[in-house]
């Protein structure tokens, strides 16, 4: 049996994390930064009961992802451990944690907020997300619909796919500032959890 990783392996800096946190690595305002993001307002109320982890379908199959610890690390202000942490991308957004939290903490919304901050501050995103976002800009859909498929719709008696308004979509990408982020962002590798139990 593979040895269980200490601290649930929610950081890419394992060695460093086993040592006590140094004050200079603490960002005392980090939790407030998170609390300003929609859905993440109650992260300070987490009392570490562990219901979110216990009921998390992903956590059941890998010890690489532990939502309870993510909430604690936010409270402690250990920003570096979370921003850019690849484990954040393992949340399936099933939202069981939101419904079961006795403190009303929207755990999966907090994960979303951390993903957003990671993308914005590091200009990186998983390649699948970059493809989806780029396709929306190009076609309005997350996929580029091949001609053959559009033709097949006719044969299947389906109405033609509505033409998207690409000008409107592009304007929304620009006004939110995301168009720039998308253009300069690099892509990250898929998350490896092989052998995870």
């Amino acid at each position: 049996m593979p040895e269980r990783k200490k601290m649930g392996n929610i950081s890419k800096h394992q060695e460093e994390d086993s040592k006590p946190a140094k004050t200079k690595r603490i960002d005392p305002k980090f939790k407030y930064e998170i609390m300003r993001m929609p859905g993440a307002e109650k992260v300070h109320l987490c009392f570490q009961c562990g219901t979110c982890t216990a009921d998390c379908v992903v956590a059941r199959f890998t010890d690489f992802y532990r939502p309870r610890k993510i909430a604690r690390i936010i409270q402690l202000g250990l920003k570096d451990r979370l921003i850019g942490n690849e484990a954040l991308w393992l949340c399936t957004t099933c939202h069981t944690c939101i419904d079961h939290c006795p403190q009303g903490v929207e755990v999966s919304s907090i994960i979303r907020a951390l993903r957003n901050i990671s993308v914005k501050t590091l200009d990186t995103m998983p390649s699948v997300f970059k493809i989806f976002a780029s396709n929306i800009l190009k076609s309005g859909y997350i996929y580029l619909m091949p001609e053959s498929r559009l033709k097949k719709r006719e044969e299947q008696g389906l109405p033609p796919l509505p033409k998207p308004n690409l000008k409107d979509v592009a304007k929304l990408f620009h006004v939110t500032g995301f168009a720039g982020t998308l253009e300069k962002s690099r892509t990250t590798e898929n998350v490896k959890t092989e052998g995870a139990n």
Partner: protein, 290 residues
Amino acid sequence: MAETRFLFFLGCLIPYRLASYEVSARKVLGKLGVELVEMPEFNCCGFPVASLDYELALSLAARNLCLAEQQNMTILTLCNGCFGTLNEANVVLKEDRALRDKINYNLQQIGMEFKGTIRVKHLVHVLTEDIGIEKLKEFVMNPLKGLRVGQHTGCHLLRPVKHVGHLDNSEDPVVLKKLINITGAECLDYQDETECCGNTVIGINEEIPFKISKEKLEHVKTSGAQALVTVCPSCHMMYDFNQPRIEKAFNVSFNLPVLHYTQLLGLAMGFKPEDLMLGENRVKPTFFLS
């Protein structure tokens, strides 16, 4: 008030991969007297973008909602992801004034404004609320007696309760079960019915969603079900399209057909398997095809 006319939000995955769901849904809804109005100029609901930039995701979702507001029509979608995202935007933007102002500033650039005047519904809501179980029963010409199935409602129809809770029992879902039972098929209980399929992270990591779905398929098989019924294209892809890959990865055999609910209902309403594109399902539902 019961409606019969809806603005049809197709989403991305259905036109790209699952014509079987769209074709069977259009046939069934047509026969039930539901009029689907094609939604012009719609874009992706915003779901995948929420992880990258929530403000943009809400703006994309709100743009779709504005298109429906312009026509003063309720949105009907076949996809849990689209329903979850559009419904969440509709709820959140009505409740949070500051967020609504922010999104409306973005929408102003394209000459739109979110007002919060329309509703978003998934297929199952239209079937149960607008048509109604009793009325649906009248359309069952060919009861699927002796067929035993399991149901997978899917996360975004059930959770979070604060956005969708009033529509079903999120811990012990009943809506899809009722819809299945009127077809004459028997809907069996199995372990962990509310559990996620894992498909949303398949582009990031394959191992975990495969393990999650393998367990689900085992539980459904153990119950004695002959098929699994879904109402979400993403869940359907996971259990049907990926089933042979899961079998290979774990050296197991399920051979469990996965039907769109509209295929099951369509069969009960007397449509032929080929009308409902049953032959397109990856795991062949041989008991209907032979």
